[in-house]
């Protein structure tokens, strides 16, 4: 299998002007500007094979988006090297740009006042797709993303979910070999998140494209990615299979129970680690292996009105990963 992405010591510093507070500070900074360098990505090295679907995790400001921007050629690194599909991304060769796509959940390339179909036609011309290829690719995307009637409605009249799907379609019309997705499910409702996830999975399977995806949504990562790369404060912390990450760092699940009458939280220690007790509702950390038994025992011994079990928040796992290292 060929290598799709390879980075070595990828580093990025941002330079931002320092401004003293107040009007006088503003005037001073006009003449004597001081800068502060912030390291957003710090010596990150990894290799991704063609066709892999890799989750890229980290808290806000960890350097995920910066890395994706370097890999798509939007940013030049301060130090280090990267090759994506055999090209140095920030040289922005047309042949490289024709084979990648970067989708940012909060940015739009669609024309606002007119139907998304027009943006698709524009991308057809930009990427030099023949009419036949355009039709085939579009039909496939319309089918996978269930776009149908949305294509002929002005973009401003679409819901966020419909717009995000159109956005994905616009970014995939040219069948990029490398797809960089930054928070593709952000702001979507649960049903829409699922639809987008299923689409990404199907697209990866069907096209064999390499996909790198960042998300705050653990479900996205769990359902899509076998492998994850975790960064924190710009440094690579973990690179390996997801199941090992979850086992190693999230050895427990979160159980929440609401009782019909108040109970003594001290008694609840038997079921797991009590994180919080408030308004007759308890939040417990329970080891994975003991979860079923603990839930059954709790239901049997207390007047439970409502009970649910959740995975640990991804940010929690990442934080744990960070403190453990």
């Amino acid at each position: 299998m060929a290598v799709a992405i390879e980075t070595r010591g990828l580093t990025k510093d941002y330079r931002s002007p320092l401004k003293e507070p107040g009007l006088w500070g503003g005037v001073k900074s006009l003449f004597d500007r001081k800068y502060k360098d912030t390291r957003a990505v710090d010596g990150v090295s990894f290799t991704i094979q063609e066709g892999e679907l890799v989750g890229f995790l980290g808290a806000n400001g960890a350097g995920k988006t910066t890395t994706l921007k370097m890999l798509s050629g939007l940013l030049t690194p301060t130090a280090g090297e990267a090759l994506a599909l055999g090209h140095v991304p920030w040289e922005r060769e047309a042949s490289f740009q024709r084979s990648i796509s970067l989708v940012m959940g909060q940015r739009s390339q669609l024309w606002w006042e007119i139907p998304a179909y027009e943006t698709f036609k524009l991308n057809q011309a930009i990427y030099g797709l023949s009419e036949a290829d355009f039709r085939t690719h579009l039909d496939e995307l319309v089918d996978l993303l269930e776009l149908g009637e949305h294509l002929s409605v002005p973009v401003k009249k679409l819901s966020l979910g419909q717009r995000m799907r159109c956005e994905l379609a616009a970014s995939l019309l040219h069948r990029p070999k490398l797809l960089l997705l930054d928070e593709p499910t952000i702001g979507l409702d649960v049903v829409m998140q699922k639809a987008v996830r299923e689409f990404i999975k199907a697209y990866n399977a069907r096209s064999g494209s390499t996909i790198m995806l960042t998300s705050h949504n653990m479900t996205d990562v769990v359902e899509l990615c076998k492998r994850v790369i975790v960064i924190e404060k710009g440094r690579l912390l973990y690179d390996g299979p997801l199941d090992r990450l979850v086992e190693r760092y999230a050895d427990h699940k979160i159980m929440r129970a609401r009782f019909t009458t108040p109970v003594d939280p001290a008694d609840l220690k038997a079921f797991g680690n009590v994180v919080k007790y408030e308004d007759s509702t308890v939040t417990l950390e329970v080891p994975r292996a003991k979860m079923a038994a603990a839930a059954a025992a709790l239901l049997a011994s207390y007047p439970v009105a409502d009970l649910n079990v959740e995975e640990v928040d991804i940010d929690d796992i990442v934080r744990r990963l960070f403190t453990n290292s």
Binding site: L74, L75, W90, Q97, L102, R107, Q109, L122
Partner: protein, 264 residues
């Protein structure tokens, strides 16, 4: 099909889609023309000429201004500023397409709609004014006027593009762009013919590219520039255009480099 042609067609659709914006824009421009016209009519009064302009010539100047405003002073500066500060520019930078080619296509679409509207308005006003306007008979004059106007429009496009690129370095580029446009319209003769100004000031302005944008083409149209002089000035305008293009491209390249260094 060329992406620029497709972009042109889409932008045309979008401009027509925003009907109320278009109508407001046109009404605003129309108000300017009517006030300028009333102002100059009052100044001329009973005199045969004023500052070397007959009543018909002055009316023609004012009406030509309406068309030139729509053709020359459109540009994509504000959009560029917005796209840089919002980061939307990224979506162009990662696609295999030239941003200025794309911006020019969109600008051309705007111009198409606005010039069509301006010509309609001018015809209406000319009819209301009793057909008292100056039209050159010599086709060569029309040709020189057209050449001057096409270059003016590109000159404005690239100068404005260059100033808008400030947004790559500062989030406060709107102010400079606004001042620049205001000064440029004054120096171009878009408020009044530059003959109104003291000679020294006019001579100084003539050393800049600005008078080529409105004052010069309209004077060619009014046959106030002898043909040989007009040809020389067209040559000068072409030089200014080449300079503006080169400068705009240089600033753009540096801007994109700094955008790539500082983050989008």
């Amino acid at each position: 099909m060329s992406p620029y042609w497709v972009a042109y067609k889409i932008a045309l659709q979008e401009t027509l889609q925003r009907r109320s914006t278009l109508i407001m824009d046109r009404l605003g421009g129309f108000a300017v023309v009517v006030s300028l016209y009333s102002f100059w009519t009052a100044l001329i009064g009973d005199k045969a000429t004023f500052l070397g302009y007959t009543r018909a010539e002055m009316l023609t100047y004012v009406l030509a201004l309406n068309v030139l405003r729509s053709f020359v002073f459109t540009g994509r500066g504000w959009q560029l500023v917005g796209e840089i500060s919002s980061g939307k520019i990224s979506s162009y930078l990662i696609r295999p397409v030239s941003y200025h080619g794309y911006a020019l296509s969109l600008d051309l679409a705007q111009k198409t709609v606005h010039v069509a509207a301006a010509i309609f308005e001018v015809a209406l006003l000319a009819a209301l004014a009793g057909g008292e306007i100056f039209l050159p008979r010599d086709p060569a004059v029309w040709l020189m006027f057209a050449a001057a106007v096409v270059m003016s429009s590109l000159l404005f496009f690239f100068l404005e593009f260059m100033v808008s690129c400030l947004a790559f370095w500062t989030s406060e580029s709107g102010g400079p762009l606004f001042c620049f446009e205001l000064f440029l319209q004054f120096a171009a003769g878009a408020f009044f013919p530059l003959d109104v100004l003291p000679l020294a000031l006019r001579r100084t302005l003539e050393l800049t590219p600005f008078p080529y944008m409105v004052y010069f083409p309209v004077r060619v149209f009014l046959e106030k520039v002898p043909p040989a002089e007009a040809m020389r000035l067209l040559g000068m305008e072409a030089l200014w255009l080449a300079a503006a293009f080169t400068a705009a491209m240089m600033v753009w390249k540096r801007g994109v480099r700094s955008y790539a260094a500082e983050g989008g």
